[in-house]
Subunit: 240 residues, 2 copies
DNA sequence: GCAAGGCAATGGTCCTACCTTTGGCCGGCC
DNA sequence: GGCCGGCCAAAGGTAGGACCATTGCCTTGC
């Protein structure tokens, strides 16, 4: 962001910057409450409007949550991949990104992640994944509820094994993006698709449990490839 | 973002939403000028404050650029990977992501991208990469200017061959992130590192030119591995 | 013809007043 | 004694106005 000499600092930007800095330096943690707008305005010797602009901007990027009412206020949000997801969705939305591209990207990224996950998984990771998997298998057998949460949770759980935050964040963003796009279509809500998913997940789990990186890679590749095919068929149907 | 029933719509959010929608629907293109704040306030039958909050938020996420002065105003920005970069930097900054993780992520993502690039590259792609490469080699031989721009440009140019926007955006964000972090260290500014980089890039270019996906994959893997080692050494030096 | 200064449009900031929401406190009623 | 309802305070949400700062354009004067 080469702001450079050009624009002189806006008051609200100064506030934004200070808050971001305090957060990245760990002096402000998730859940902490920021001063009330009036109070903050007093501290910065500025008006409430500037503070509001700053708070509003930070809320838009996902750093703050603002509640109103008695002891409302601005609170530091639990930062996860959601801001990345939002900005990604915006950029891709503008470019009219096809679902094909999205799954292709996952096709490239997820298998290596699965391999790394298999190599790095610890006992607690494996237990965690197993819990998610059992829950998912239970759901798939039972009712035909919403598809997304458990599937996303499984992929997320796998990515967590890598202990690599950038990877985790990027993968989650991509996964959520495809899930959002998929829920717009009719993809993968059907019972037999969900069962098929569970089978893939079970195989993947086995690969990770035995720290078989290559098997994890191959299984994930087939899994995402399967999703890709389903999407393609769904799009073809829709075009008719 | 499960806004749910909870918060009733804020006026500024309604404006934000409408503008985002107009952009994603292609009714507002990069460079277009939005109504002046006062005019917009009149249209929405609201106050200038709400409009300002909306514009400010959209500027923070990188959708708008706001200029002041006579025929200043809010303009739709050319969306690139920059918003993603910013949000990613924020999320990772909070998690105190190590440089090691960043290069590891690139290690996983860039080789497959290089392979895909080699398979998909067209004649104009190859010419474009060659131009970037020649420029870079020229720079490396000459003065010892800033390292970053040409290196990033090369990687970007490679990613462009994939014609996959999500991949391009993610890779650019990661590359810029490591570059930013690297410029804080003393990594890769030295002449011999730059020459080495050029050699890798030249090899990569050859692989892409001949559409040799596996060679591109392997070369990129070695290249990123090399960067990773340099970073590791630099960190070790710094720790002393 | 050119340069300097004024004009007007537009964002930047501040102020003030008022509304809405929401939690807590207090008093009356059951 | 306990519960319910209303009042109050604190906080954000909105409105509108006043004024400053910036900057392109246009006029005016040399």
């Amino acid at each position: 962001m080469p702001a450079g000499v050009g624009r002189q600092a806006r008051v609200s930007e100064a506030i934004v910057h200070r808050i971001k800095k305090q957060i990245t330096e760990g002096r402000l943690l998730a859940g902490h409450k920021l001063p009330a707008e009036r109070e903050m305005a007093r501290q910065f010797k500025t008006s409430r409007v500037s503070v509001r602009e700053a708070y509003r901007s930070l809320e838009e990027v996902g750093v703050l949550r603002i509640r109103r009412g008695a002891d409302g206020g601005a609170f530091v949000a639990q930062l996860d991949h959601e801001p990345v997801l939002r900005s990604l969705a915006l950029v891709l939305g503008l470019g009219r990104t096809s679902h094909r591209e999205l799954t292709e990207a996952r096709m490239l990224i997820e298998p290596p992640i699965a391999r790394l996950a298999a190599l790095r998984a610890r006992k607690d990771d494996i237990l965690r994944i197993e819990r998610v998997l059992l829950q998912e298998e239970h759901d798939a057998a039972q009712r035909s509820g919403p598809f997304r949460p458990t599937d996303s949770r499984f992929h997320r759980s796998v990515a967590d094994c890598t202990r690599n935050l950038p990877l985790i964040v990027l993968m989650n963003a991509l996964a959520d993006l495809t899930a959002n796009a998929a829920s717009a279509l009719d993809v993968s809500t059907r019972a037999r698709h969900r069962l098929k998913n569970c089978q893939f997940h079970r195989q993947l789990f086995d690969a990770i449990r035995t720290h078989d990186g290559e098997k994890a890679y191959a299984t994930m590749a087939r899994h995402v490839g399967d999703i890709q095919r389903r999407v393609r068929r769904s799009l073809a149907r829709r075009r008719k």
